[in-house]
Every structure is written in C-alpha cells, then in structure tokens.
Symmetry: C2
C-alpha cells in the first residue's frame, strides 16, 4: 500500500500552515484527523468521525465521504451498508489544519446516525449552576429508519 499522506503538502511553518493555501492536513499519532459533518442545507451537525490519509484522499477524489472506522480498523465508505451515502458539497480545513469540516447531502432517508436518527447529536445536556449530574434531554430524536432491519446480519 502506498502512503496516502504523500498526496498532501508537507507541513510548513506555523505561518504557512495558517495563512497559506497549501493543503497540509495534520494527522495525529494514530494517523487520524478529526472530521465534523454538517447538513449542507439545514446546517446542523450530523456526525463526528475521523479520517486517515487514505479516507481523506478517497473523499476528495470521489466527492463521497469516507472515514476511518476505529472500531473496525478499516476504511469506511459511510452509507455503504445503509444507503445513506454523503455527497460532499464543501470540504473545509481549520487554521492549524488538524480538523476538517464537511458540508454534505445525505442520500436515502437523510439519516446520518446508525441509530436511525438524522443526527448523532440527539440529546442535550443541561447547563447552569445546578446542572451538573442532570439527565440528558432528547432533541430531534425521531428515527428515520429502523436500524435492526437495516443492519441485520444474515
């Protein structure tokens, strides 16, 4: 396997990384970079995952979001099982180039979460002086598909 990180620019100076236009993503000690995924139309955060260089390269070349599955230890074309593929409308990188933001359109029911919800962020934690230890509150937690039927093992 070739080293997919060779597809990206070498890390330059602090100033070059922040102000330059060379794409020099920083992969951590595990070879991963954080990837935030938002709905290109509605704007909310759909999911959070990690990419390795191979996943980022595949995402750029195909325009479809790929990640690195830490639980499976494998390249993961999001939606390959459920049909909820993510078309990348825009890919952005942050100031120090160690985080990515993907604005996407989700295929199928539009659900991004394996639990069947649109977003993985379907619970809110209260804040305030007395909120520590309080229970979570469900938010937008309707299921758009039945995960038991979608991910059934044969």
């Amino acid at each position: 396997m070739t080293d997919a990180s060779a597809a990206f620019a070498a890390r330059g100076s602090h100033h070059e990384v922040e102000e330059g236009l060379a794409f020099a993503p920083k992969f951590d000690r595990d070879g991963l970079i954080a990837a935030i995924v938002t709905d290109a139309e509605a704007g909310g955060v759909l999911m959070f995952a990690y990419m390795n260089a191979e996943a980022l390269k595949a995402t750029i070349e195909t325009g479809v979001a790929h990640f690195w599955s830490r639980s499976r230890g494998a390249l993961w074309r999001k939606g390959e099982t459920s049909g909820h593929e993510m078309s990348v409308v825009e890919l952005r990188v942050d100031c120090d180039q160690d985080a990515l933001w993907l604005r996407v359109r989700v295929a199928g029911t539009g659900a991004a979460c394996h639990t069947g919800r649109k977003s993985c962020f379907y619970r809110a934690a209260p804040t305030g002086p007395d909120a520590l230890g309080a229970a979570l509150t469900p938010v937008d937690d309707a299921r758009l598909f039945d995960p038991a039927a979608t991910y059934k093992t044969s």
Copy 2:
C-alpha cells in the same frame, strides 16, 4: 485536585450509552473529548477543540465554553485574552458520547479564531477527480480583529 470526571455518570452498556439519558461522556486515553462549536444563530462551524473533564464541568456550571489547551497544557476559558467569550446556548452529546456539540453566542466582534476570523474554517479544499494536490480556496476569511494587537505580549 479532585477528579472532575467523577461529576459524570459511569459508562453503562452500549445500549445505555446510546439510548439512555445518563450523561456519561467518554474521555480518551489523554483524558480528552472532542468539542465542535457552532454559531447558535448562523449555524456554521466556528472551531474545534478538546475538553477534559474539568473543562466540561466548568462549561456546564458557568454556561461559558472552557476547553483544554493541548499546546499550553492548561484549562482554557475561551476568550479570556481576546474578550471573545462563548455563551453556551445548547450543549449536545453524540450517540456513543465521545463527542460534544456546543451551539454558542460569541462576545465582542463575534470572532472565534485566534487569527481574527469569525470561524477557524476559512479555507476550502477542492474535491473531484483532479482535485488531489490542489490549492486551498479562501472562504469567509475577513478578519474581524487584529490578532497582533489583541494578543500582543507586554
């Protein structure tokens, strides 16, 4: 120092973590959890950082975003130097409770990035069959404040 992680629920079963209402954030081997910050009104991603248990506890109790600065190795009340504090409108957690999403209102000029921009994500990477290795494109990269004046060392 007391262990701030004791302020949160113990991790239960896979089902309890995903479907329950106990707030049981998962801190990684460095004691950190990913935190995505978006603009509560406009909806875009402003920044990405990490919290340790102490930062999350402080965020919940004060309603103002705190992070863990990996570069400084210290609790970081965002905006303490620049005046761009972040009031938390809503704090959400994802399905497996290893990522947080904060919807915030930014004080001062409204800039979240230390470079002076509103968002840290001020550059886009092209996607498509021939896009690998292409230069970044500036997006919404106007500076709302002058970092040289704001962060000057005395």
